[in-house]
């Protein structure tokens, strides 16, 4: 085996320029894939992080039918306290859940006494909400990073449009589920930076203020956002929750709750999927590049060495050995390309990271791109390249091993 490698390596060295060119082509392919995977992956993860950690949470639970009409924030589809108690018990029994935050969501009028506009609001338990959305506090750009009773955190656009500052007094007026209108005077406690996606322009207030405005006898929750300990467990936890909550039925015998991951709630999921599909196609292109260039080189190699093949075959070399000789040559080319490509890719990723490229997503600016690549990605890409290199050598190597020695020896 060692001797087969020796012969293969020497043959690669014999046609040095061709070897370097082919290995470079493969290396460039690997480089592009790695950089693309790193950049798109970090972009994707950052945006997903922004969405889940400053707005949605990882998973949300609603009463059945709520999400379909989430745009009008229907108070009639809130959960009764008994239902809420059941859910809390379920969550507390699941160690995968790091935090959860019940919210009362409602729409209302927002008046600064001189101007009035519409507003969407979340009534929340401040500690629970901040635990569930670790990036929420960072979105509060003015005022203290807290949600206090008697205060409302208003979206940036309203603050700017109505020239409101922290400490100003405003009034919130809302219709409750029975149709009666009520208002409450609150202070502007902070200004919230907008985020792209559903709920990105909602205001926040203390849940008790929400209860008061909506004149609820008991707290009726519209949605519960969940944060998991491990984001990688998203689908597993989602499945578990679905399975557990499927058992909870309403009076009509239909499921009482619905569970959605962020993927079902944010349109960015489609962009994320698009990125995955593009990554897939770029990998496919890499495979094509490796396959075509290796096949090309190996077909040339076999053609140039027909007489040598005839010679070694005549003196008794087994067809299998001749086959391995050429397979190993293709394999080595693949390995070179993969090594060089991995090294170059890591260097470029490192540079991109050091340069701190910033980008904007929707209204969020100054997001720092921090491309990283998993060791597993390096392995997968390398294995693909090496595997395809072997596959590309298969046909020429097989042809070499099947050559008739007399024909090969006569070849000029």
């Amino acid at each position: 085996m060692g001797n087969l490698f020796k012969i293969a390596l020497r043959n690669l060295r014999r046609y040095r320029r061709r070897t370097v060119l082919t290995a470079s082509l493969i290396a460039i392919g690997v480089l592009f894939v790695l950089v693309f995977v790193a950049v798109s992956g970090s972009f994707k993860n950052m945006i997903i992080g922004q969405i889940t950690d400053s707005m949605l949470g990882h998973i949300q639970v609603h009463r059945k039918g709520y999400v379909a009409s989430i745009d009008n924030l229907p108070l009639t589809l809130n959960m009764k306290p008994e239902a809420m108690a059941k859910l809390e018990k379920t969550f507390q029994g699941m160690p995968e859940i790091a935090a959860y935050s019940p919210r009362i969501k409602f729409g209302g009028m927002f008046s600064s006494f001189t101007e009035t506009t519409n507003i969407r609001l979340n009534g929340v338990y401040p500690e629970k909400e901040l635990k569930t959305l670790p990036l929420l506090a960072s979105r509060i750009v003015e005022g203290e990073k807290a949600i206090r009773k008697g205060e409302v955190i208003i979206p940036e656009l309203i603050a700017r449009g109505m020239k409101l500052n922290v400490g100003d007094t405003i009034v919130i007026i809302a219709t409750n589920k029975d149709g009666s209108v009520n208002g409450k005077q609150l202070r502007v406690g902070g200004v919230l930076e907008s985020a792209t996606g559903p709920g990105g322009r909602d205001g926040y207030l203390h849940i008790e203020d929400a209860v008061e405005i909506l004149r609820m006898d008991a707290i009726e929750i519209s949605e519960i956002a969940l944060r998991l300990k491990d984001f990688g467990e998203l689908n597993a936890v989602n499945d578990t929750l679905n399975a557990v909550l499927l058992g909870e039925v309403n009076k009509q015998g239909k499921p009482a709750f619905e569970v959605h991951t962020w993927e079902g709630l944010s349109p960015f999921f489609n962009i994320a999927r698009m990125i995955d599909i593009m990554t897939f196609f770029i990998k496919l292109m890499l495979i094509a590049i490796v396959l075509v260039s290796i096949m090309n080189v190996m077909i040339m190699a076999v053609y140039e060495r027909i007489r040598e093949i005839g010679t070694i075959s005549a003196i008794g070399t087994m067809p299998g050995k001749i086959l391995s000789m050429f397979l190993i040559e293709g394999f080595c080319l693949g390995v070179f390309g993969a090594i060089v490509g991995n090294a170059a890719g890591l260097i470029i990723i490192f540079i991109l990271k050091a340069v701190k490229v910033t980008f904007e997503f929707g209204r969020q600016t100054g997001l720092v791109l921090s491309p990283t690549i998993d060791v597993s990605d390096l392995f997968v890409v390398s294995l693909i390249v090496i595997g395809v290199a072997i596959i590309g050598s298969l046909q020429p190597a097989f042809k070499a091993s099947r050559m008739e020695p007399i024909k090969a020896l006569r070849h000029v």
Binding site: N3, I7, A314, M318
Partner: protein
Amino acid sequence: MELIKAENVSKEYQVGEVAIRALNDVNFAIEPASFISFVGPSGSGKTTLLNLIGCLDKPTEGRLTVADTDVAGLDRRQGAAFRGEHIGFIFQDFNLMPVLTVYENIEYPLLMVQNVAAAEREERVRKLLDAVGMLDQKDKYPDQISGGQKQRVAVARALVTNPKLVLADEPTANLDSKTAYMIIDLMKKMRDEFKTTFIFSTHDQKIVGEAEIIYTLVDGAIAGRQVKGGNDNG
């Protein structure tokens, strides 16, 4: 017991519609440790015959046995194994592996064909390097040595496995006459030392005289058999 026995051997090549009869009803027997030459004009069938004896091709008719093995009965892998075991080849164009050194070229059949252990390999390669006078050139690559030296390496490679038979199709055609004599002499010396049968083909009348038995081929048939020192047309 003869090493090679040809009984009514014929070989036809099919070229499109036409059948070319390259060998026509050939009969001969060759004893072990012989030093034999096939001569004849171009196209007389020398290469064809050597290919048959070397198990590189199969006769269309007749029976050809080499070392008690019917050549026609070997499949591709068996043929390769048989050649690797019993036959050494010397080629007109030397056919050394350009990526291997002189030493490695001679070692190749022991390593890649026969799986001989390292210590014995080294001993046999050195012995042959010495026998062909190439010990001091052992680390050179084929493109760094002369044609005569290449053919000496090829002789060593053909002999390193201790084959019963070495076949050389026009081994001196690409060498000047002085070198050609040296190679034939070397082959004869090797025959004396290793008791290997050598069969070479040539159309060079001067070289032919070096053989002990000379078969003359004309139009695919044996036209004469000459034993050195006398004429024996039997």
